[in-house]
Amino acid sequence: MISVFQQHGQELLTGLENTILCSVIALFFSLIIGSTVAIFEVLPSKFLRIIGKIYIEVFRNIPLLVIGMFFYVVVPQYVFPMDGFTAGTIGLTLYTSSFIAETVRAGIQAVDGGQMEGARANGLSFMQAMWHIVLPQAFKYVIPPLGNQFINLVKNSSVLAFVAGFDLMYQGDMIASATFDTFNTYIAVGILYLIITLPLSYYMRYLEKKLA
């Protein structure tokens, strides 16, 4: 296993970089999209509520691989070209944002209704009340489940391997097929994933304690 790191360190490093890059981008955008969709779901407008519901049900219930492949092969053919990294990252963002939306919606609904009512009666608009009063309280409730989503996101970024996105898993496949040392290669890849996810998991636990 050490020899895998010695001989293919550069490839693994490239993979690690791409995995982290993809995760960070997907995390950022799925938080924004997920929170927006969550707000759609609690909006007074029935039309937007339905839009939010459809978004969640579609992207939550299609396998990530299918979404990734769709952006890799279908979108470039009919809409505009994009490489595997972009396609995989977009797929991962849409997929994860549907889960984040569900989590954040639950958080919003866990905030006492009096908070919104008090803010509206005080003259704030719905969005002002959401932004300044409800969401900050909702995020406290959702940090533990959100932490799980983030860890899942990092692991799910391995979808890039299937669309030639040069991530950790893809590089692992390359090394395994070049050396035929499947066992040690995937152990090495697994360790590198742990290096990303373990600190994340501990940081989330720390945050949870701090906010409790």
Partner: protein, 275 residues
Amino acid sequence: MKRLRKMLLVAGIFILGGLLGACSSSKTQSTWNEDKANNTITWGVKADTRLFGLMDVGTGQIKGFDIDVAKAVTKKILGAKGKAKFVQVTSKTRIPLLKNGNINAIIATMTITPDREKIVDFSKVYFAAGQSLLVKKGSSIKNVKDLNKAGTTVLAVKGSTSAVNIKKSAPNAKVLELEDYAQAFTALKSGQGQALTTDNGILFGIASENPGYHVVGGTFTNEPYGIAVDQGQTELKNKINKALSEMRKDGTYQKLLQKWFGNVAGFNLKEASQQ
């Protein structure tokens, strides 16, 4: 902090344990004895490769030249009642599956290479392929030299020799490796690359179903296909070699070749049957 260290220790022990377990489990039994007892040979075959091994979506059965050769070899070895069992593999999974005993032999468009001979044993050549290129009709790419430019992207399949070869033949091109031929061809159609490279037999199979695409530039490598067994399974290997020789002598082999490749335009049967 103390807990973290403990966690890492536990993780380390698990990994170490796994390593040791894997090393000690190298098997010594004869695959041939098992096969004889079960009256069955389990073959690893492709299921996504037209002409060689393709899943018929309607019946759920895999059909192709590799399949027919495997069936014929099985009958020659085990007799008329011998059974051939098929397990779907990809270029990426076939060696691990052979090594861990899930399959007894690989007949899956597998090129005999010195690297592979270090970890598996090959039979005699049963199909002489050569690597070629599939491009969209009207493409400016006519041969492998046209690919050797920065900015061109070639599509290949993970774990195949063609991925390795193309990096040597066209070092300036970017190579993207996908899971299987179906995905690689879909990627070609959606413009993720300008050419798809693999063995000519496979490319002819794809082109025969997709009239907008054709094989160009002839072959630029020799890819002799062999049947692989795990290292040390000499008895099974010898039985397979004997069966292949008999098939060539009694005409079974030529019949199968004609059945699958006789109607493929541009395909050279003689070249393919070279030993």
